[in-house]
Chain length 469, copies 2
Amino acid sequence: MTPVTMIEGALRDALPAAAFRDLEPRYLEEPRGRYKGEGGFLIAPASTEEVSQAVKIAYEAGVPVVPYGGGTGLVGGQIAGEGVQPLILSLERMNKVRGVYPEENVLVAEAGCILQDLHGVADGVDRLFPLSIAAKGSARIGGNLATNAGGLNVLRYGNARDLCLGLEVVMPNGDIWNGLTRLRKDNTGYDLRNLMIGSEGSLGVITAAALKLFPKPAHEGTALFVVPSPEAALGLLAMTRAHVGEQISAFEIMHRQGWDFLAETMPQVRLPYAEPPEWCVLCDIGLGRGLDPAEALEALFAEAFEADLVTDGLIAQSEQQRIDLWNIRENIPEANRLIGSVSSHDISVPLSLIPEFIRRGNAAMAEIGDMRVNAFGHLGDGNLHYNIFPAQGKSRDDYEDKRSAVKKGVHDLVYELGGSVSAEHGIGRLKVKDLEVYGDPVKLASLRAIKQALDPKGIMNPGAVLAAS
Amino acid sequence: MTPVTMIEGALRDALPAAAFRDLEPRYLEEPRGRYKGEGGFLIAPASTEEVSQAVKIAYEAGVPVVPYGGGTGLVGGQIAGEGVQPLILSLERMNKVRGVYPEENVLVAEAGCILQDLHGVADGVDRLFPLSIAAKGSARIGGNLATNAGGLNVLRYGNARDLCLGLEVVMPNGDIWNGLTRLRKDNTGYDLRNLMIGSEGSLGVITAAALKLFPKPAHEGTALFVVPSPEAALGLLAMTRAHVGEQISAFEIMHRQGWDFLAETMPQVRLPYAEPPEWCVLCDIGLGRGLDPAEALEALFAEAFEADLVTDGLIAQSEQQRIDLWNIRENIPEANRLIGSVSSHDISVPLSLIPEFIRRGNAAMAEIGDMRVNAFGHLGDGNLHYNIFPAQGKSRDDYEDKRSAVKKGVHDLVYELGGSVSAEHGIGRLKVKDLEVYGDPVKLASLRAIKQALDPKGIMNPGAVLAAS
């Protein structure tokens, strides 16, 4: 591919001076440190028109374009491949909220808006924008959509895909698709919106989106339930549904390994049990008027205790207690990072097979070597973060020779159970090979045909999702 | 294109005798009588493998394939174009439920299952499958997905797209894509599922789907609210949301024209007011445990009355009263049919612009001629059925010369307001030109490129969605 140096002059002619920024190291790094960019040329356009002009120039010359949001992706989708000198197209200056329509429950925002800022905008009109991920303070909505982000509230509100009504996209040839509709229903042709969502910048650059807002639940409640097993956790989920229907906002499972990691690396995080429970569930419910969530959670606890689905539990009695309980869950990824994993997995299986996955996965890992397993995550979605760590006193470097066996063990099991090796993080560059090995071949052939049809020169984020051709 | 007669022999060799059925007239007709097929060859395979074999044979020979579900589509997507002798591929024998997973809230069904039968299957495990359309007694789920059907409960549960987790599809070359996952989260590559949903059989044949089930609301309530205007109806929607959050299952607006048509054509339908209200709203709510919907609706009525958003109303006190109220709404399409429209429109606009659309649309129609307008439908989704009828004593034939002006008047206004000329019925063959005129040109170019990429010979339902090439 043509290196970006060939079009720097044309870009400087076409865009205002403010669009050019220094290529600081952060644009070439990603959170897990597995990919490192080898340079490129950074622009930060301020408008869709400027994005379009820049992409047109790259398209004409055949220069690769890597769209860059908040840089928080966990699969290397934001870092160009080896030897590639791309145009790095940061959306950071496209951070305007174009419109708020509380009477329609709609917000129209540019791609560079920080996720947490959008929470604030929604809050300002007494609405909820429910997409919530650990990186919400720096992740940008364009990247959230490009990767179809998941997070804590998928169970109730869906993933990023489900929260988007319309998109504005600069296509690989620089044309602007104006699909920024605020419509709830629109059956006019193939679903280009959902094709762009989750394409990880490899089919175009998302520049703006119309997003769904929701009424805020009148009353929210949080409980930590100690459960005897993952099976019991599933039983508790079904019972919770019977009690409050779809009004479960989050249903997260945690293994004691995560608590042990917290105690080891982040002693400032308050843990409510001296002896951490083997398994527990953190459950949020949000109810409408006329109902008291603490009462609802108490009734649930009583019935679940009777049915041997829970053995102990805590119902938050104040906002501070809710925060403390969520602090446990939300700090587990950081504790994991501090310990340093041998291999991390973002998997999903059909919900009812979660206990089997954990049982067989743990057995397979034990056969490979002496390792610690931290399984936690979005049980309500059938989505676990299944992360493998060195034994106490050892480091990840001691396991270099085991990493591929670990990955294969996990992925083979996921595949056998009809699951996904990337539930919410996407393919990026990290899992391109996995998609080739585990993906349905007919699907793969279709994806390649679509990529070729929409991006015939292969300039959009080459090597992400599909191997560069 | 090659006529199907060229491959009849090969099909007879490849498929069992039971796959061949007489081409009864119903396969060549559609509900509104605007399209009439000119023949073809009918097969009704019993398995995905048989569908695959048949499509492979058609693909090799370049014979057009028209997938056929329940035949209830309203835009002619199920009827081949002029002069085309297609392979008509009915899914009617693929009507098995492959699995029910109440603990996962999932149902896996073949494409030929009748929608209403799936309601029964869900009910049998105390769950809800919420997709509900007027034609539910004969529509098949494969067709519902191929057209991304909407209906009454989109406001709460989403359209067909939102209710589908996985698909099995026979691609245009006969290959089988096994995407029949029961996963809630799967970010492995582009969203082929949503590309197939809503493609109206022009990118492949859906043979099975994994569908989402929901907990049944513990208590359901129905009210008919008389509102002074469409603006007030929107205010009432917002107030209802503030009262019960997302637990509004349906929110339908009706104009008195529909009631007058009912009185004229279907006097057996019970109407609760001697003098029909100018505008009214039919609202369903479904609440969880511990709440009484009648009480909730009474509290809503009191507050709305105080705010001048409603002037009168009825809260159903029994299941029979609920049925009677819904009978009004559900019989309006049949009454419309009996009157005979000049032109029917399935439009959506941003929710807050519905009143403006009605005001300006009615004014535009009055300028064209003396006509009756029946505006009704899914207000909660911003989706109206805006249908234009002859003046009393005249027939639709008297308006032949006005039809195109009516269509243009409605569509221009929809376009100006950022709406859609096909909110839920799809493009089919009826609206191919409209898509060309009103569709975003960059989107259109992308759709054509996708069609060409996945169906290079153009055999799948040629002329549906996009003009045949």
